[in-house]
């Protein structure tokens, strides 16, 4: 009897459980397991988010092999459940450009096509790319942001996802639910600052959506010039996903002068705030959290000790991306190293994960994404 409850009712029940209890239910019987796998994305891992076990995998491209994309699963509890390799109708040699990822969904682009896939459920939805998608030389003109029903009503009803397009050149955001009509646009160049084309190119890759209460805000770091073009600075750009209000914020005080974007990754904190992870010195990572209006507070410092490395100084560490569900920060150690570094931001624990299939690496394209 209980095994045969309709899927939506099962999901309503499992919603009240934490991830561990959900996984135990998955091991109870097949119908429950099917319901859980198919709805993994809306079974939010609360309250045990920031659970490193929820990092399923990552997607990356090699700088020198632009047409080679790699999907790598991280060993963990979901490993055996992933359907991607065998029976998903997606060709990674065509859909090789990860655009965005969130809550178990991955958005990939291939030519004029965009594919929204859920590797846990093995499903794909194909969409066409935005018309203003790219420059002639192939650079991205816009940023894609995955939004879910939770972003609008703070949870509950609609758990479907949609894709939003942030036009970087014209500095507009377009709302497109399943590629419906464009809703309206909002300006990016807020506060008398201009954003130049060239600097868009060198933006840090890390963008993040922070949910709170009944809405959510999309953040990314942008490089801006002051009015007189005398200096360039990094600022945090924010857009409210619902009201489309935009604003910008300064970085924490002592970071203001740094223009090297490789040193920053935007993240979320364990209590659901925007946080900034910065790497000011080679092996030291700082985690800053936004409290109130544009005020940052230093939450913790992590000294990265690479396992198995005796001579710390010879190791080159670079931070690259952050996965909000698992609380893991991605980084690489040395260019040629076969391992990828995962840092649990909450505890400072390190994990090495092997890169997949490629013998030689130079640098990441900056598109390392999580699932």
């Amino acid at each position: 009897m209980w095994a045969s409850l309709p899927c939506d009712l099962l999901v309503d029940i499992f919603r009240h459980l934490d991830a561990t209890a959900v996984l135990r239910c998955a091991a109870t019987c097949r119908p429950w397991r099917r319901a859980i796998i198919a709805n993994a994305s809306c079974l939010q891992p609360h309250p045990d988010r920031f659970n490193p076990n929820l990092l399923i995998g990552f997607f990356y491209r090699d700088w020198w092999c632009r047409y080679q994309a790699w999907l790598q699963y991280v060993p963990g509890p979901f490993q055996g459940l992933l359907a991607m390799d065998d029976d998903v109708s997606i060709d990674f040699s065509k859909h090789d450009e990860p655009l965005s990822s969130r809550d178990g969904f991955l958005l990939l682009r291939g030519g004029t096509n965009i594919c929204l896939c859920n590797p846990l459920a093995g499903t794909c939805t194909f969409l066409s790319a935005a018309a203003f998608d790219k420059y002639d030389d192939g650079r991205n003109k816009c940023a894609y942001v995955l939004v879910t029903g939770h972003d609008y009503d703070g949870g509950g009803g609609d758990s479907s996802s949609a894709v939003r397009v942030l036009d970087r050149r014209e500095a507009r955001i377009r709302h497109q639910a399943r590629w419906g009509p464009v809703k309206r646009s909002a300006k990016l160049d807020d506060g008398g600052l201009t954003v130049t084309k060239a600097d868009m190119w060198s933006e840090p890759p890390g963008d993040v959506v922070v949910c709170h209460g009944g809405g959510s805000v999309y953040y990314r770091i942008i490089r801006v010039f002051t009015r007189h073009r005398s200096s360039a600075r990094l600022r945090v750009f924010a857009i409210d996903m619902y009201t489309e209000r935009t604003w910008t914020m300064e970085l924490p005080e002592k970071h203001a002068e740094i223009t090297d974007h490789d040193r920053f990754v935007l993240a979320t904190s364990e209590d659901g705030r925007l946080s900034l992870i910065s790497q000011l010195r080679d092996h030291q990572i700082e985690v800053w959290v936004l409290v109130g209006h544009g005020e940052w507070t230093l939450r913790r410092m992590i000294n990265v000790q690479i396992p198995g490395c005796l001579k710390e100084d010879s190791v080159c560490l670079g931070i690259k991306g952050f996965c909000p569900r698992s609380g893991c920060l991605f980084g690489y150690i040395n260019y040629y190293n076969k391992d990828l570094l995962l840092i649990d931001v909450n505890t400072g624990n390190l994990r090495l994960v092997q890169k997949f299939g490629v013998g030689y690496f130079d640098e990441y394209d900056g598109f390392m994404k999580w699932m």
Partner: protein, 186 residues
């Protein structure tokens, strides 16, 4: 709240203009009639609200073929209790859950209401709440069911819900290894 209606009484009711009635009569799959306040029905159930607004309420008892008398009795009971209860100050769940709708913890009477139900009755009630679009009742029943799963091993969950284990030994061993942290870390 079960109402045994005589034929004459039903006829009597029909004479009263639809707009003047402040109750609606619901009929379970096994033909039993229940009366519930129109205001409570419309407020608590999106399906009944739609039927009331759309005029598809039958004075002789609106057929709810999917719902048995025991479940319907509980539904009506819940509506009446809800109408009589004074909502307490919002007891928003204190756990961090900014990605999901803030779940309002069951009130004392709601807890008692679901606690006294047998497993079978709970099962029927959750289906009825789902069918009638009764969001709060669905929340409260689902919460109760989830409470019965918390802190239990798959074996214990199967036992509580009387679920047949349809995994083979090998599959189970595989899952067990895969999910080792979920089974043994507490």
């Amino acid at each position: 709240m079960e109402v045994d209606k005589g034929k004459g009484e039903a006829e009597e009711t029909r004479k009263v203009a639809e707009a003047d009635r402040d109750t609606v009569t619901l009929k379970s799959s096994d033909g039993k009639l229940f009366e519930v306040s129109k205001e409570a029905a419309a407020r608590l159930s999106t399906v009944l609200a739609g039927m009331i607004a759309g005029g598809s309420i039958d004075d002789n008892g609106t057929d709810l073929k999917q719902i048995g008398s025991e479940a319907l009795e509980n539904v009506v009971d819940y509506c009446n209790k809800h109408a009589n209860s004074i909502p307490s100050a919002a007891l928003i769940s204190s756990s961090i859950s900014f990605n999901t709708a803030p779940f309002k913890e069951p009130e004392e009477w709601e807890r008692k209401f679901v606690d006294r139900l047998s497993h079978d009755a709970l099962f029927d009630l959750v289906e009825a709440a789902n069918f009638l679009g009764m969001e709060r009742l669905l929340d409260v029943t689902c919460h109760k069911i989830s409470e019965m799963m918390k802190g239990k091993s798959p074996d214990q969950i199967r036992e509580v819900f009387n679920i047949k284990n349809d995994y083979t030994k090998e599959e189970l061993e595989e899952i067990r290894q895969e999910l080792a942290w979920a089974f043994y870390d507490d």
